[in-house]
């Protein structure tokens, strides 16, 4: 009886909207299975963590009140008074960190498997843009509890923008909503974090997912070379989807475990007139940039050290985004191909400078 109603409903919708594409996706889509298939799941985990962010973010909005006099107090209210408020806030903070981590893992796995090559250039570009916006989410969200650490990290972070020639100063004023980091900055960051970024982010994430659905999973070289009968595929539904789901459950449990045993501190309320406390540091995913800027000398030849650093990261990011369009000649006698080498150097650079940031 129940089944009957279900199929009637499907027929009703099918008559009007033609569900063939959905049926094709569910019944015929296949995912290659090989020893590197584990990397296929990293994007899915990132997507899952984004959904967690969306849900917990909406929940926090019910109690969070932006403003110099209320932001810190409302977060304290959330973590002390609201039932499970501490849990929701911890999950939001932890999930944000894991999200960035998995986004980086996803990006480098795509890079090293050369999945960005034709025809997936735009999937790579939209993915990179989504990552940049993810980092912007992290930067703007960090300030919202309006505590000492976030206040000074935002001061430093927005100050770095100011070293850019010509556009630096106006851009800094725009970000801060004035000369200095004040309540105006908080209002601005709040608006950016909960309205502007979600809107832009959704567009690029939507495109990214659409491209993947249209083109299917990338097959690595080693898999493509196999004779047809040796190529193993699993159905997207239910096999791949269930594996995806299982991984989501595992990540969700890790997330809850971290939130329970390693809660995020709220710290002291930001005070614009107090001197900066020891150990001001950005979130770990900005650490490698922060540390590089710290290590650069004040002047390199005639350019300011900081400006050189900012320009370097800007250029590196741009090149990284355009990697699918860069043609590098294959070197038959090189053990490691040039692009792979650049990738390895990039990972090594990020890892080493992040570690230095924490021990120096």
């Amino acid at each position: 009886m129940k089944k009957n109603y279900g199929s009637k409903l499907v027929t009703w919708i099918d008559d009007r909207f033609d569900l063939t594409p959905v049926r094709n996706l569910l019944l015929h889509k296949k995912v290659p299975e090989h020893r590197h298939s584990v990397w296929y799941y990293m994007g899915g985990v990132t997507l899952f963590l984004f959904l967690v962010q969306l849900l917990t973010g909406i929940l926090l909005l019910l109690y969070y009140r932006p403003g110099e006099d209320s932001a810190y107090e409302s977060v304290r209210f959330i973590v002390t008074e609201v039932k499970f408020g501490w849990l929701i806030r911890n999950v939001h903070s932890w999930s944000a960190n894991l999200l960035v981590l998995f986004a980086f893992i996803h990006m480098f796995s795509v890079f090293f498997s050369k999945a960005y090559e034709k025809p997936r250039e735009l999937t790579w570009v939209t993915g990179f843009i989504t990552l940049v916006f993810t980092l912007a989410f992290g930067f703007s969200g960090y300030l919202l509890p309006w505590n000492e650490l976030a206040f000074f990290a935002t001061k430093v972070g927005t100050d770095i923008v100011g070293v850019l020639p010509v556009i630096g100063e106006p851009l800094r004023t725009f970000l801060r909503g004035g000369e200095d980091v004040t309540g105006a900055t908080l209002s601005r960051f709040f608006g950016i974090h909960v309205a502007i970024l979600p809107a832009i982010f959704t567009v690029f994430l939507g495109l990214h997912l659409l491209f993947i659905k249209r083109q299917g999973m990338h097959e690595p070289e080693s898999f493509k070379k196999l004779p047809e009968e040796k190529k193993k595929y699993i159905p997207f539904f239910p096999d791949f989807a269930l594996k995806d789901l299982m991984l989501w459950v595992i990540v969700f449990n890790i997330l809850i475990f971290l939130s329970l045993y390693f809660p995020w501190e709220l710290g002291n309320k930001a005070d614009a007139l107090a001197s900066a406390p020891q150990g001001i540091k950005p979130e770990w995913y900005f650490m490698f940039m922060f540390q590089s800027l710290k290590l650069l000398p004040a002047h390199v030849i005639f350019i300011e050290g900081e400006l050189l650093g900012v320009l370097f990261f800007g250029a590196a990011g741009l090149i990284w985004m355009l990697v699918p369009f860069i043609k590098v000649k294959h070197k038959p006698n090189w053990k490691v191909q040039p692009l792979v080498l650049i990738g390895i150097l990039a990972v090594a650079f990020i890892v080493i400078l992040t570690i230095l940031g924490y021990i120096l």
Binding site: L55, L59, L62, Y63, E81, V82, K83, F84, G85, L87, I88, V249
Partner: protein, 143 residues
């Protein structure tokens, strides 16, 4: 009915699935329910000086979280009543000309003892006790 292995495992899996879903939704639903604010219960408040309060006038005072209307009648009597109309909770006002309490939202009218005289209000306004101690007006909850 024979319970085979597959059925048993499926039941077990569904039960743990339901448990998992509950473990997610219970915190979320609890979070949605706002905590009661810890404002202390107020039993009496001071409402200013007797000689500064003109006869045939009124003012609205916060009594804890509820608004209270304090009225000084023409014969220098004090009346204190809850100011939230019993109809739909608008704040009432004292009409100097008719010597009545009016709720302007839907024309509810109360007399000076808080009795609902006409209009939609279903119940009288709650009365408070007013005393003048050392020239200071003190409003106290009755009962």
């Amino acid at each position: 009915m024979k319970l085979d292995r597959r059925k048993f495992l499926n039941t077990l899996l569904s039960l743990s699935g339901v448990g998992g879903v509950l473990a997610v939704f219970y915190p979320i639903l609890s979070f949605l329910n706002p905590p009661k604010s810890a404002e202390p219960e107020v039993n009496s408040i001071k409402a200013g000086l007797n000689n500064e309060f003109q006869a045939n006038s009124s003012k609205i005072i916060k009594f804890g979280r509820t608004p209270v209307i304090l009225i000084k009648t023409e014969d220098n009597q004090y009346k204190a009543l809850s100011a939230g109309c019993t109809h739909l909770d608008c704040i009432v006002q004292y009409k100097k000309d008719t010597k009545q309490i009016l709720c302007a939202c839907h024309n509810g009218i109360y007399d000076l003892n808080g009795r609902n005289v006409s209009g939609p209000p279903p119940r009288p306004l709650e009365q408070y006790d007013v005393k003048v101690i050392n020239e200071e007006i003190v409003i106290t909850k009755l009962g």
